[in-house]
Symmetry: C2
Subunit: 207 residues, 2 copies
C-alpha cells in the first residue's frame, strides 16, 4: 500500500516556543510541508510573498471562497486569512507530513475536513505569567498586541482538551523529544480512503 501523507496541527500561544521546537525536530521527522496561509492584508516590511503568507487581493480571495478552495478561512479586523486546500492535497499525495501552525478554530476546521489523518498538539508555556515574561522578553510587540496575545492565550487554553496531545514547554529539549515522537507517529495515520481501498481489496481476494 503506497502511503499518502498525514497532518500535524500545532497550536498554542505566540511565545509558547512552537518555532524553536520545530527547528529542533525538523531534520528528524521526514518530508514535511509547512502550510502557508493566504491573506488579503497588506504585505509588511520584511515579509516575503510565499514565505510568511501568500498575499492575495480581496477579489481573488472571495473567488476562492466561492470555489470552495479553502480548508478554512476567517475575516479578522477587515482582512481575510485562509488556508488553500490545493497545496495541502498535493503535499499529501506526495506522502508528506503537512504542518499547520494555526489557532483553536483552525484546528476544528482542519479536523472537520481531514480528521482521519490529523494529529493535533497544543503547546504552551507552563504558566500564564511565564508566557507574559517571554512576550515581554521579546519586546517586539506593543503593549496592546501583548495584551491581545495574553487574552487569546487565556481563551485558547480552555479548549486544550480538543487536542490529541498537550506539551508543556518548560524545557526545550524535553518538549522537543516529545514533539519529535508525536510527529513521527503522526505520519502513521491511514486516511479513510486508504482504509476503504484496503478493506475492499482484503475481501475481493477471498472470492
Amino acid at each position: 500500500m503506497s502511503k499518502s501523507g498525514a497532518v500535524l496541527v500545532l497550536s498554542g500561544p505566540s511565545g509558547a516556543g512552537k518555532s524553536s521546537l520545530l527547528n529542533e525536530i525538523i531534520d528528524d521527522i521526514g518530508a514535511c510541508y509547512f502550510s502557508i496561509s493566504t491573506t488579503t492584508r497588506p504585505i509588511r516590511k520584511g515579509e516575503k510573498d510565499g514565505v510568511h503568507y501568500h498575499f492575495a487581493d480581496e477579489e481573488e480571495f472571495k473567488q476562492d471562497i466561492e470555489d470552495n478552495n479553502f480548508l478554512e478561512y476567517a475575516l479578522v479586523h477587515g482582512n481575510y486569512y485562509g488556508t488553500s486546500i490545493k497545496p495541502v492535497r498535493e503535499a499529501l499525495n506526495e506522502g508528506k507530513l503537512v504542518l499547520f501552525d494555526i489557532d483553536v478554530q483552525g484546528n476544528t476546521a482542519v479536523n472537520n475536513r481531514l480528521g482521519d489523518i490529523t494529529t493535533s498538539v497544543f503547546i504552551t508555556p507552563p504558566t500564564l505569567s511565564e508566557l507574559k515574561k517571554r512576550l515581554e522578553g521579546r519586546s517586539t510587540d506593543s503593549q496592546e498586541v501583548m495584551d491581545a496575545r495574553l487574552k487569546m492565550a487565556k481563551r485558547e487554553i480552555q479548549r486544550v482538551s480538543e487536542y490529541d496531545y498537550l506539551i508543556i514547554n518548560d524545557d526545550l529539549q524535553r518538549a522537543a523529544a516529545i514533539l519529535r515522537q508525536i510527529a513521527i507517529t503522526a505520519r502513521m495515520k491511514t486516511s479513510s480512503n486508504e482504509v476503504n481501498d484496503f478493506v475492499q481489496k482484503w475481501e475481493d481476494i477471498e472470492q
Copy 2:
C-alpha cells in the same frame, strides 16, 4: 506534572500476529500492564488463573456488574467475560501503559470510559485468504472454530475506521517498528483530569 498512565488497545483477528508483535516490542516501550479478562467459563487444561483469565463464579461476576466494577463485559454462549476497572486504574496511577487485546466492541467500551488517554490500533493480515492460511497453519482450531474466526474477522474489518491506526502485518519487523512507535507515543496522551489540573494551575498563578 507527574504523568499518569495511558491505554493502548490492540484489536484484530486471531491470526493477525498480535502476540508476536507484542513480544517484539515489549522490552522497548516502558512499564506496561496487560489487562486480563475475568470470565465465568470453566478453566481449561493448561490455563492458569490470573494468567489467561481471572476465573470467577457467576455470583461474584453479577455482583461486580451491579457494583459497576467492569470497564466492559459481555455474555457469550452463556459465559460472562469482562474487564475489571480496578487493576486498570491502579496501573494507570502507577504511570503504566495499559494494554488491551480486545475486540471491536471492547474498543468502543474502553473509548467510552477512557477515551482521552486511549490509542487504538487494528492489526490485520494483508488479506482474508492469508488469514485463512495462517489459521490452517496453526492447526490448533477445529474447522468450526476457524470458520467462526474468519466470519468474525470479516465483520470486524468493516469497523477498522473506528481505530486510530491500521497496521497491515505482512512483515513482522516492519509491522513491529510501526507498533513500537505508536506504543511509545500512546503514553504521551494527557488525561482530562491532568489537563483540567494544568489549566487550573496555569490560571491561578496569574492572580
